[in-house]
């Protein structure tokens, strides 16, 4: 039975999300801004982030499935739920829960780039540089973490733990 050790508590998340919202509001004042939440992992983060942004924004969702063995992604990605509105000429921020290998985000950025947005940026709650395989620009970042398996605040393990208000590390009970 695994136990969960708190890695980033709810207060630290709230503080950082507020700062990210302020930075986005400052950078995009006057822009036609669209936030794209990548499902399912970023839904909690995106929900808090949009409420920390003080300028008008539109929100859309994208779901994708990456193919690979076990927990290793291959970089081959299939979009299982696409955007509902065109993004041409709009300023777009892709909101992701975690960037580790960077392969999925790299694919998504290439795909979205073909739709001719005015600008395309990435906002990630977590970055795990130890697992990075391709370099992805992260314009707004919550936290850099070590190479551990994290759950909570939208991140799951076998669809569980998404509802935890904090980010924790799954550890085997001794």
């Amino acid at each position: 039975m695994p136990t969960i050790r708190t890695l980033i508590d709810a207060q630290a998340i709230a503080y950082r999300v507020k700062s990210l919202g302020a930075a986005i509001s400052h950078a995009h004042r006057g822009h036609d801004l669209v936030l794209i939440s990548v499902l399912k992992g970023s839904f909690v983060f995106a929900a808090d982030l949009v409420r920390a942004i003080e300028i008008p924004i539109a929100v859309d969702f994208l779901a994708c499935q990456s193919y690979g063995a076990g927990t290793e992604t291959s970089g081959v990605v299939k979009i299982t739920h696409d955007l509902t509105q065109p993004i041409e000429g709009k300023h777009v921020i892709v909101v992701e829960d975690i960037i580790d290998t960077g392969l999925t985000m790299s694919y998504l950025l290439s795909n979205l780039e073909t739709r001719k947005p005015a600008s395309l940026e990435v906002c990630a709650l977590l970055h795990k540089p130890a697992r990075s395989r391709v370099k992805v620009p992260i314009h707004y970042l919550g936290f850099t973490i070590e190479d551990v398996f994290v759950v909570g605040y939208g991140l799951d393990f076998a669809e569980r733990y998404r509802n935890l208000p904090y980010i924790g590390v799954l550890e085997e009970e001794r």
């Binding site: 050790r5 708190t6 508590d9 207060q11 503080y15 950082r16 936290f143 070590e146 590390v169 550890e171």
Partner: protein
């Protein structure tokens, strides 16, 4: 695992990180390994170094009350309320008031 993280955070702090979260996470790790007094001392340092970082007041107040250091908990919570009010962070104000309320009831028993 936890000691590895502690070491990483110690290294970042020694390198002079200006990210208050690194300091805060260090205090969180100290608490998780049972070094609550050291965690509280670290949180007191954080609020001096990064006075706008509200999570440190919340955790600091809670920890002080848990350690039975009522007056220090009250001082930390009240300082946190002032900072949170200035930044219009009503959620943190409510949480700190809740912590004070719980601690007062416990103290009266």
């Amino acid at each position: 695992m936890s000691s590895k993280r502690l070491e990483m955070l110690e290294r970042l702090i020694a390198q002079g990180t200006r990210d208050p979260f690194h300091h805060y996470a260090y205090a969180l790790e100290l608490r998780s390994i049972g070094k609550s007094d050291a965690a509280f001392e670290k949180l007191k340092e954080i609020v001096k170094q990064f006075p706008e970082y509200v999570p440190a007041y919340l955790m600091g107040a809670q920890l002080a009350f848990d350690l039975g250091r009522f007056d220090e908990g009250m001082a930390m919570a009240q300082a946190g309320i002032e900072v949170a009010e200035r930044s219009k962070d009503s959620r943190t104000v409510r949480e700190l008031m809740g912590i004070i309320d719980t601690a007062r009831k416990k103290e009266e028993r």
